[in-house]
Symmetry: C2
Subunit: 370 residues, 2 copies
């Protein structure tokens, strides 16, 4: 990584970073040099698993993007255009969606018939380039994606000026915003002793209706499948600022295991976020491949693994972060049995089996994987 | 429609309806007759547009499902199984997802190798059969789908025992539950003078951040695309119980027009819900095909209609509920220009153009369609 890039990434305020980026451009122009921008490479070869930190990290490789280069000029211009859009957002203290930013920065270049962007598919990767170059999450650049996921539990939070009592959120819960940085979300009084992240919102709803969070004094979160960035960042902040342990409750299939691993170590695609989103202390509470036998679930709730599942399971078996003996056993058991189970399968034992028996038993007996 | 079916559908309590269904079965058995169940047909030929009520309605055709009939026995059994699952839910006052109900009712039939259900694809249509036979929405049978959509504004609501101040919901808003019946959601103090339903959550978020609902004293709702049943039912209740006018704000494309029409008249697929979900008084606030010219939006934010869009627009042009002159003009204008516009396109005129100029201007000058 170049010295200039390191300096840029070490600055604190995202607006200052963008200004520094712009200043660099002016200096190149004044010196009559070909302006360039260094961007860390977001390629598989530049991703490593750090044993020490137990997270997936981006390496030091960078690529240089020049202005006077036929193959790079357009991307160079687009990078500055997106940066200028973010700068504007930060200045007026407004947030917008990544789709909106595309429309904000799209226009026909003067005296040319070229568009700045032809498609949102062009602007989205530029946003990721900018995130990694600046070392700022897009949420810090005031860009958001769709809201997804919800939370209830023994805590009060401050959200954009409103105090929200998460003990009194009815059936729907507090919708987790896509941006959960300090300027939007602050944690106020919290009695909860742990966090339970549930993959499926239907199961979350069952647990909320049964007031599981009240009985077990916890925070109850769901991410509607793969947890979106907002939920991951929120979990990270809660674990680090409130020192709460995090338990993950996902389907018993390779996809569920993968959701858990992204929460814990980060993902390959977005390795540059890991250090601000991954929670290496996260624990896997279930569904384990051993639960069907342990809890005597009927045979007919299990689903046969298909070829895709088997391939994915074998792939996961090779990941450095699944090399612990207990995880190898867990994944091999799934492959041996040849079946997967959804969280809803627990309902075959009764509507509230999950909240009244399964989860309390697993937590009480510490039946989780690390 | 048979007399027995009419009687069943006219009963008030869903639990009573299911009990009556079960009693009928017992009577058939006692008389030694072949048990049957009448179910209104959910076919296109049984759907009509009622000019008087301005909603799409299910007709009077029914189909008879017998127990002693090789082709119908399984479906007959499944219908009673689903009804028994719902009866259990109503008895213990718990709600569950339609996926959960599938797992609850799935088992191997004693002394046979047959499963009651092989797939959720089998149980979902049975739920719809039951809804239409009983004349009860599945939400009244304590079945829910995923939460989707959110609301903020000048109102306090009661949600499952909690009082929720929708003026203090931060950036995410109150997540609209899938079940919003009287036993789950009640309207308390409401000062708002109208409801604005926004198709896109990103635009909803822009309006929430700009506190549009405060300045214009309204309720701000989004449905994340096509409004889910929970949002539709909530809008219906707010319009009918609170006498609030409803404005719909959708993309300028055939899909946006269709979303508006489902809110207003109901949908063909779920015609049996129309009378409890459709809002014939709903108004279309935008984006109109004339808005690009009226608000001088730049050319490069428009997207060319593809073949699918054109076909869909031509189809919509024929619908009885789009026969008003202004709607014919609106759709033909879209086809003539050959372009569509997303709500986000308004951002080309500035981040807050939508909340500070576009919407206030359209509302003030009553530029809507009925």
């Amino acid at each position: 990584m170049t010295k200039a890039l390191k300096k840029l990434r070490s600055m604190k305020d995202p607006a200052d970073k963008i200004r520094a980026m712009a200043d660099a451009l002016v200096r190149f122009a004044e010196k009559g040099e070909n302006p360039y921008l260094d961007i860390p490479s977001r390629t598989l070869s530049n991703v490593t698993f750090s044993d020490r930190d137990s997270i997936i990290k981006l390496g030091d490789e960078t690529q240089r993007r020049f202005f006077f280069n036929i193959g790079q000029a357009k991307k160079f211009m687009q990078t500055y255009l997106v940066a200028s859009g973010c700068s504007e957002l930060l200045k007026v203290r407004k947030t917008t969606s990544i789709r909106d930013l595309y429309y904000m920065t799209k226009h026909t270049i003067k005296d040319a018939r070229e568009e700045t962007f032809n498609d949102q598919k062009e602007s989205d990767p530029i946003i990721e380039d900018l995130e990694v170059a600046l070392g700022s999450l897009r949420e810090e650049l005031n860009l958001f994606a769709s809201n997804r996921g919800a939370m209830v539990g023994n805590m009060t939070i401050w959200d954009s000026g409103d105090m929200i009592n998460l003990r009194k959120q009815g059936s729907g819960g507090w919708s987790v915003p896509s941006i959960v940085e300090e300027n939007v979300v602050r944690f106020k009084s919290c009695e909860a002793k742990f966090i339970l992240l549930v993959e499926k919102d239907a199961v979350w709803r069952r647990l909320n209706e049964d007031k599981f969070w009240k009985k077990h004094n916890c925070m109850l979160v769901h991410g509607q499948g793969m947890a979106p960035r907002g939920v991951r960042r929120l979990l990270y902040r809660m674990v680090n600022e409130l020192k709460l342990p995090l338990f993950v409750f996902v389907d018993n299939d390779p996809w569920g295991f993968y959701i858990y691993s992204v929460i814990k170590q980060g993902s390959i695609n977005l390795a540059f976020e890991s250090s601000r989103m991954a929670v290496p202390s996260a624990r896997f509470l279930g569904l384990s491949s051993y639960d069907k036998g342990k809890f005597k679930l009927p045979d007919n709730v299990s689903i046969s693994l298909n070829k895709e599942d088997r391939d994915r399971a074998k792939q996961i078996l090779e990941y450095p972060w699944f090399q612990k003996e207990e995880w190898q056993k867990e994944i091999k058991k799934m492959l041996k049995e040849g079946i997967k189970l959804e969280l809803e399968a627990l309902s075959a034992k009764g509507i509230s089996f999950v909240s009244e028996e399964y989860l309390p038993y697993k937590i009480k007996n510490k039946l989780w994987l690390n």
